[in-house]
C-alpha cells in the first residue's frame, strides 16, 4: 500500500531531521500553547449559551451564533493562512518510481486533514449544538448542523492551503483573496451589506432545511479538487526546478552600491539574493502588510488609548521587515556558506554589512510610517522610540539568535514545495524580543507615567548603538564559535 509507505517515510524524515531534534524545547512550547487554546475553546463551548445570553439577553442565541459564524470562518481562514504549515513531500524521490502521480497528490491533500485546526472548532460547535440546538430541534438537525460546520472547516482548510500554495507561484491569487476579504470587511463596516444577516440567513436555512448540507459538501469537494489539479500540474521535475530566468535588471538600480567598497558589494549581493528567489521576493511583497497595520488599528479608539498596544504595533511596523531579513540572515546563504567561510577574510566586515543592511531596512520602514503622525504626534513619538529600539537592541539580538539556526534553506529549490520558516515556530521563537519593551514599559504604566516608558525604550536602543563596537566584537566571537555548526547544517540536504 503506497499511502502506508509514504506515511512511514514522512514519519522517519521528521523524526530524523536535525531540526526536530534541536527544536524539542520549542515544540514543547507550541504544544503547551495548543493545549491552552484547546482549554479556552472547550470552556467557550461549554458556556456558550450563558455567554450569548449575557451579551444579547433579548435575542435568540441561535440567531446570534449563526450571525457570527461567517466571521469566525473568515478569521479562521486568515489564521490558517498565517500559521498552518503546508503538507510537503520530497517529490523528486518518488516521481521516477512506478507510483501513480495522483496517489502522491491525494496523499498530500489527505495529509492536511490531520491539521489540528480542523478539529478545534468542534470543541465549540458540538457543545453549542447540544446545549442550544437540541432543546428546540431534533437530534438529526443538530447532527447535520455539526456535520456542516465540520465540512466548512475542512473546505476552509483546503482554501487556505490553496491560497498559500499560490502565494509563491502566483502571488496575484493571494492578493486577490486578500482584497476580496478587505472589500467584504469594508462593505460590512460601512453597512452597505450586512455580513451578519447574510450569515444568519444562510445558517438558519441550514437548520430549517437540512438538505442544504449539500452546499458545504460541494464546497469541500470543490476546494479539494482545486488543490488536486493545482498540484497535479506541478508534478513534473521541470516545474519543480525553478524556471530559468532572464538576468533581472531590477538590481541594476542598486549598482551604485558598488562604489561603497566591500560593504556595498556585500549589500548588493544580498539585494540580488532577495530579489532573485521567489521565496525571499514574496517576503518583500508582504511589506505593505507590515507597514499597513497602522491603517487598520489607529482608527479605532480602543487601541489608541492602549499604549502597550501602540508600542507593540510600533515595533512590528518599523521592525517587521528587518526581522524577516535578520531571522534567517545566515540560513539564506546556506547555498554558498562554504564560500563565505573560506573566502571572506574579515568576518567583522561581513557581520557589519548584515547589521547595516538590517538597520537600513528598519529605517526605511520607519520613514514610511512617519505619515501616521496624522493620527497624532504621540504615534510618531512612539514609533521613533520603537525604531530606536529596533535598530539598537532588536538588531543585535536577532543577529545573535540567527547564529543558532543551522537549518539549510534551499532557496533555489522550487517554490511550490518549499516553505521553510513560514510556520508558527518562526514567530514564536522571537516573541520574547517583542515582549521585552512591553515589560520595560509596564512599571511606568503602573506609575501612570507613560512618556517615561517610551523614552526608556528609545534609550535602550540608543545605548545599544553607543556600544556598537564591543557588541559587534561579541557577535563576531559568537559567529566564529557557531560557524562550524551552521556550515554543517547548511551542507545537509533537508
Amino acid at each position: 500500500m503506497i499511502y502506508k509507505l509514504l506515511i512511514i517515510h514522512q514519519l522517519k524524515e521528521s523524526k530524523r531531521s536535525s531540526f526536530w531534534q534541536k527544536q524539542i524545547a520549542l515544540n514543547i512550547v507550541i504544544g503547551f500553547f495548543i493545549l491552552l487554546m484547546l482549554l479556552y475553546l472547550l470552556v467557550l463551548g461549554l458556556f456558550i449559551d450563558k455567554i450569548l445570553g449575557e451579551l444579547y439577553p433579548n435575542d435568540n442565541p441561535i440567531d446570534i451564533f449563526n450571525g457570527i459564524i461567517i466571521y469566525y470562518f473568515g478569521m479562521e481562514l486568515m489564521l490558517r493562512f498565517m500559521i498552518q504549515a503546508l503538507p510537503t513531500i520530497n517529490i523528486e524521490s518518488y516521481l521516477h518510481l512506478p507510483i501513480k502521480k495522483t496517489a502522491i497528490v491525494h496523499y498530500l491533500n489527505l495529509r492536511s486533514l490531520l491539521a489540528i485546526g480542523n478539529y478545534l472548532p468542534l470543541l465549540v460547535f458540538i457543545p453549542f449544538a447540544f446545549k442550544v440546538l437540541l432543546p428546540h430541534y431534533s437530534g438529526f438537525v443538530a447532527f447535520i448542523w455539526i456535520l456542516s460546520m465540520f465540512f466548512i472547516a475542512l473546505a476552509n482548510n483546503y482554501l487556505a492551503i490553496y491560497i498559500k500554495r499560490q502565494m509563491t507561484s502566483k502571488p496575484m491569487i493571494t492578493g486577490i483573496a486578500a482584497i476580496t476579504l478587505i472589500i467584504f470587511i469594508l462593505l460590512d463596516y460601512f453597512k452597505i451589506i450586512s455580513v451578519t444577516s447574510v450569515s444568519r440567513y444562510l445558517f438558519n436555512a441550514l437548520i430549517v432545511h437540512t438538505i442544504w448540507i449539500i452546499i458545504p459538501v460541494l464546497l469541500l469537494i470543490f476546494n479539494y479538487l482545486l488543490n488536486f489539479y493545482f498540484l497535479k500540474t506541478k508534478l513534473y521535475t521541470e516545474e519543480l526546478s525553478q524556471k530559468k530566468e532572464e538576468i533581472s535588471n531590477t538590481s541594476k538600480a542598486f549598482q551604485y552600491l558598488k562604489h561603497y567598497g566591500h560593504t556595498g558589494q556585500l549589500i548588493l549581493k544580498d539585494i540580488k539574493l532577495i530579489w532573485r528567489h521567489k521565496r525571499t521576493r514574496s517576503i518583500v511583497y508582504m511589506a505593505p502588510l507590515f507597514l499597513g497595520y497602522g491603517l487598520l488599528l489607529y482608527n479605532q479608539e480602543i487601541y489608541m488609548s492602549r499604549n502597550g498596544f501602540l508600542i507593540f504595533i510600533g515595533i512590528f511596523m518599523t521592525g517587521g521587515m528587518m526581522l524577516n531579513y535578520l531571522n534567517y540572515v545566515f540560513s539564506y546563504e546556506s547555498g554558498h556558506f562554504d564560500f563565505v567561510l573560506s573566502n571572506y577574510k574579515d568576518f567583522d566586515k561581513y557581520l557589519e554589512q548584515k547589521f547595516i543592511f538590517a538597520i537600513a531596512i528598519a529605517t526605511i520602514s520607519y520613514i514610511i510610517t512617519i505619515p501616521y503622525v496624522l493620527y497624532g504626534f504621540k504615534i510618531l513619538f512612539i514609533n521613533t522610540m520603537t525604531w530606536l529600539y529596533n535598530i539598537g537592541v532588536l538588531s543585535y539580538l536577532l543577529l545573535f539568535t540567527a547564529t543558532f539556526s543551522s537549518k539549510r534553506m534551499d532557496l533555489s529549490k522550487a517554490a511550490t514545495f518549499n516553505y521553510q520558516g513560514l510556520g508558527a515556530t518562526h514567530w514564536l521563537s522571537i516573541l520574547p524580543f517583542f515582549l521585552m519593551p512591553l515589560l520595560v514599559y509596564l512599571p511606568f504604566s503602573l506609575l501612570d507615567y507613560p512618556i517615561g516608558g517610551f523614552i526608556v525604550i528609545g534609550t535602550m536602543g540608543f545605548l545599544g548603538l553607543t556600544f556598537h563596537k564591543p557588541i559587534m566584537k561579541m557577535l563576531n566571537k559568537q559567529f566564529v564559535k557557531k560557524k562550524y555548526n551552521m556550515a554543517s547544517g547548511f551542507r545537509q540536504n533537508n
Partner: protein, 231 residues
Amino acid sequence: MIEAINLTKVYSGTKVLDIKDLKIGKGEAFGLVGNNGAGKTTFFRLILDLIKADTGMVLSNGKNVKGLNDWKYYTGSHLDDGFLIDFLSPEEYFEFVADVHKLSKGDLEEFYINFKDFFNNEILDKKKYIRDFSSGNKQKIGIAAALMAKPEIVILDEPFNSLDPTTQIRLKNLLNKLKEEKQLSMLISSHDLNHITEVCNRIVILEKGKIVQDKPTNENTLKELTEYFAV
C-alpha cells in the same frame, strides 16, 4: 606550506580521518586518491577551517588555520557547489570574488583573457544565473574563481568530475603551467587515476582516513595505483 599534525576527525563514533604527520611543500602538486568515504573531502575541509578537528591541527605557512584568516589571502579553493553563489551570473560572481580578494578591474580583465580558452565560450555573456548552468560548467566557474586571485595554494576536490574531455585536457595543461611558472602548490583529489598521475608529482592514498601510501610519481605510478585499487 601546509602541515597536518595528529589530525583526526570523528563522525558519530568512527574516525573518518587520522593523519599523524603530513607536510606539503611549496610548489608541490599533491594528489589525493581513495575510495568513497576515505576522508578526502574531510581533509580538505579541515585545511579550509570549514569543520572543527577533534584533535590536532593544520598549519598553513606555520600558522594554525583555525580562527585565523591569513591563509585566505593566498589560498584558492573549490570543493563543491557550496563554493558558488548560484543566484549570480558568472560575471557578477567573478566580480564579487575579485572584490573579496581586493583585485582591481585590470586584474579581472587579465583573468578573463587568461581563462578564455578554459571557458570555451560556454560561460560568459550567457545571460543566465549560475544555478541554470550544467554541472560541468558550474565546475569550470568554481575552478576559475579558485585560481583567480593567483593563489599560492589551490585546493580542488575532484576537479575533473563532470568536465567534458576537452576541458579536462585544458585543465591539466593549465594546472601544469601554473605549477611550473608560479610555483603553485596544489592539493587535488580525484577518482580518475589517469589525470591525477599526469598532474601531480606526489600521490597519497587514503583508506578509511589513514594514509596507506605516500610516493612521488614516476612512470610506474599509474600501474601501481591501478593494481592497488583492483581488489
